[in-house]
């Protein structure tokens, strides 16, 4: 029997087991591909995404880590309907079965988790079309031009509002009406988290292609957002299920050992970060034990990482997993606290807003000069000032007028401003 036919039979069996357990996934498209493709899908987040050097940088890093066996990617799965899963060409039969079970659970998660409800499921095609348009812009307006503009847009790609009315702005995207020339930009009535959307709506002097690029990056950021927001529970879910499904299969001794080894590798604890596979798996197992199997499905539907950990990370789990808080003292990182509440709260703080600083547009007509006033909602961790000073000019490049960012340094409110030239700093 050919490998492909073998894999097909294996997948069929795994699907049956998954169905029996109650998993409900999108229709699956398994594609076998060489390692290099997996690196590139990993770097881009999607096979059809537009080209940019930053993806090339990620590609190089992933490839290097892979070549040096620092990490290994077995699969990649994307949130689309049908759901595409890419399997590594040289996977063994056991590896492929584990991966198939794992991605089925991801697919089930994509389909049922509430945070994915708004994501367009045809993003593969959408991104391909966007990539084509960006390529056309490069041809027409020059590669350097487009790349430089993308650099600026990507610098603020995290600043979207995943809970707002997501795709309303898109309708007036490319070719949409330019705000009336000369009219002062309306200050938002309420602070607006959607920085990209705000620039798209109110930015003056942007060419159509530039507005389109902003809209593309914004749509993609919104599409990816739930994946970053559910990293732990999504991986936990997939791990929880590949374990269950693999244990239901009829594996021989060698296969059992191979599976056990691979699984153990996946859930290896790390000293300097949290392994999402391990943490997510253990929380789900604990939920099953305490509340029954029904509850597991409810959690999968309702939670993102923050609510997942806030509701279900217990003192016992923190103890069992040996979680601790560490911080930098001098040149070293040292264990600070082991109290479970401190661990939980630190985790949640780091996961909040997908780990990005929470920045709002406070005013789009600051100084009544159409200047952009942003505010960082400080929650105890300061911003990286050198990065801030390099990012502000990029925002200026998009906005076309002076930009300001208010934040907190040494417990004092401070405003960084960029009028062109050099970034200045003023304590309030």
């Amino acid at each position: 029997m050919s490998d492909l036919a073998q894999l097909e039979r294996d997948v069929e069996e795994i699907l049956a087991v998954a169905r029996w357990y109650g998993l409900d996934h999108f229709e699956m498209r398994f594609e076998i591909c060489p390692p290099e493709m997996l690196y590139s899908f990993g770097a881009y987040g999607m096979p059809s995404r537009f080209a940019h050097w930053s993806f090339g940088k990620a590609f190089q890093r992933i490839k290097m880590e892979h070549d040096h066996q620092l990490s290994r990617i077995y699969e990649m799965v994307i949130n689309t309907d049908p759901c595409y899963a890419f399997l590594l060409r040289n996977n063994t039969r056991v590896q492929n079965r584990l991966v198939a079970a794992h991605v089925l659970a991801h697919s089930d998660f994509f389909k049922h988790n509430i945070h994915f409800a708004g994501t367009p499921r045809n993003m593969l095609e959408t991104m391909a079309a966007s990539a084509r348009r960006i390529r056309d812009y490069e041809r027409v307006y020059g590669r350097e031009q487009v790349e430089g503009f993308l650099d600026a847009v990507l610098a603020i790609q995290e600043h979207v509002d995943p809970h707002g009315y997501r795709f309303a702005v898109r309708e007036r995207g490319p070719g949409g009406p330019e705000p009336a020339a000369g009219a002062g930009v309306q200050a938002p009535l309420l602070p607006d988290k959607d920085l990209l959307g705000f620039i798209l709506r109110h930015g003056r002097g942007l060419a159509d292609w530039q507005r389109d690029v902003i809209a593309i990056v914004r749509d993609e950021a919104l599409y990816f957002w739930p994946q970053f927001a559910t990293k732990i529970c999504n991986e936990g879910w997939a791990t929880y299920w590949h374990l269950k499904i693999m244990r239901s299969l009829d594996l021989n001794e060698a296969e059992t050992i191979e599976f056990a080894r691979m699984h153990a590798e996946l859930i290896q604890p790390a000293r300097t970060h949290v392994n999402p596979y391990l943490l997510g798996l253990r929380v789900f197992m604990d939920i099953e034990q305490r509340f029954g199997e029904e509850a597991v499905f409810e959690v999968r539907t309702a939670c993102d990482d923050v609510s997942f950990l806030r509701s279900y990370l217990t003192a016992e789990l923190v103890q069992e997993l040996g979680l601790y808080v560490f911080r930098r003292i001098g040149y070293e990182w040292r264990v600070g606290e082991r109290d479970w509440r401190a661990v939980r709260d630190t985790l949640i703080q780091n996961l909040f807003n997908c780990g990005h600083p929470y920045i709002m547009v406070e005013n789009g007509d600051f100084h009544r000069q159409g200047e952009l006033y942003l505010k960082h909602y400080y929650e105890g961790v300061e911003l990286d000032v050198p990065y801030l000073e390099k990012t502000l000019p990029l925002v200026h490049r998009l906005w076309g007028r002076p930009v300001h960012l208010e934040t907190v340094l040494d417990d004092k409110a401070v405003v960084f401003s960029f009028y062109g030239g050099k970034v200045s700093k003023r304590f309030l």
Partner: protein, 379 residues
């Protein structure tokens, strides 16, 4: 409910996006390196590295800037895999190296270090350099050898098989025998490309590398001189087949050394710069007659010369300038400041073939290289 699925294996060989963007990224790295050559080439770790090693260079301009938290001020969570207690170290960071904030491997902090080979770095640097004022000297026309493939023969090395001609021969043979078409290759069809050696005339040059190794040359001064000579040697050897380099180290006395010795040894004692100029003149007279050689001499010192020696030094340097295409004098201004320096004395030399400059900072090694080795010749 039946769930449908497909399994397939596609041909991905044309999917090259990752490679292309990787290439673009590398281009940007190269550009960043080119923009920061002045800083980079005098990095300690490069000068002491062996030739084939890769060096890591912090590259700033290709970071992906964004609003982010100060990683150093963030608390993090880890797993206790072997039992840790409060206060235990879970990760370290190298203390900063030569330059300010150096990137360390620490959790979650985005750092970027480009890895480049010395060779790649040389290539970028040498694009801008040339041996100035190179004249063809009449007799000792040295040649650099190269090969060119210009001929086709019936015998040769398999690797040089000219497949196109071989197949043409097969067609021709079959056609002559009245069986047109291709029916395999027979030995008589084989054709090989063959090379002929070509001689390119090139002028011979001698470089005199002279360095002050006296006690007043501190670690900084030596580092500067070494950096300069490190790149100079690499540059000359990479660009010209026939450049001879003679290394002369001096304090109160001068002597000829090997390249290794030259870069590694440190001595003590006073300084009498005339000694090295005298030795240079001797070597030129005895071994490299100026009518056959283009002579370039570079001398690095901290300028702290014996005052009584200054006049003699100028006189000898002027002699050396007369037989040379260029004499370069680099004075390294260290933390100590001397009021009467050799450079001030050298101002008396008016010959345009004498060039002197001051190096105050590491990044001025680059300036020195560009001043001495620029393609448009002077005077």
């Amino acid at each position: 409910m039946t769930t449908r699925f497909t399994v397939c294996r596609e041909d991905w060989s044309l999917h090259r996006k990752g490679r292309l963007d990787q290439q673009r990224h590398r281009e940007k790295v190269r550009q960043a390196i080119r923009d920061n050559l002045a800083d980079i080439i005098s990095e300690e770790q490069i000068i002491v590295s062996d030739e084939n090693r890769l060096v890591k260079i912090p590259v700033r301009s290709i970071r992906e800037f964004r609003f982010r938290f100060d990683g150093h001020k963030q608390k993090r969570v880890g797993h206790d895999d072997r039992g840790v207690a409060v206060g235990d170290v879970v990760a370290g960071e190298r203390p900063p190296l030569l330059r300010g904030k150096s990137a360390g491997r620490e959790p979650g902090v985005d750092y970027y270090e480009a890895e480049v080979s010395i060779e790649e770095l040389s290539e970028l640097l040498f694009e801008e350099l040339d041996l100035p004022d190179l004249r063809e000297k009449t007799e000792s026309q040295l040649v650099s050898e190269g090969v060119e493939f210009r001929d086709v023969r019936r015998h040769g090395v398999t690797g040089n098989l000219d497949r196109r001609r071989t197949i043409m021969e097969a067609f021709r043979r079959n056609a002559l025998r009245g069986r047109p078409g291709f029916h395999g290759v027979s030995p008589e069809d084989l054709r090989y490309r063959t090379w002929v050696p070509v001689h390119r005339p090139e002028s011979a040059a001698l470089v005199l590398a002279m360095m002050d190794t006296s006690g007043s040359m501190g670690p900084f001064e030596k580092h500067i001189a070494r950096s300069f000579f490190f790149w100079m040697v690499r540059f000359l050897r990479s660009k010209y087949d026939n450049v001879e380099i003679v290394f002369l180290a001096h304090h109160t006395e001068a002597r000829e050394t090997t390249q290794e010795e030259f870069f590694s040894r440190g001595e003590s004692g006073g300084t009498r710069c005339s000694s090295v100029y005298r030795l240079a003149l001797d070597i030129v007279r005895e071994r490299y007659p100026p009518e056959h050689h283009n002579i370039y001499a570079f001398h690095f010192s901290d300028g702290d010369n014996l005052t009584s020696d200054n006049d003699l030094c100028v006189a000898l340097a002027e002699k050396l300038v007369k037989v040379s295409n260029l004499v370069g004098y680099g004075e390294i201004e260290g933390p100590y400041y001397y009021t009467s320096t050799l450079r001030a004395t050298f101002r008396r030399i008016t010959d345009p073939r004498f060039v002197s400059l001051v190096i105050r900072d590491k990044d001025e090694v680059y300036k020195a290289l560009r001043t001495f080795f620029r393609s448009s010749a002077r005077g």
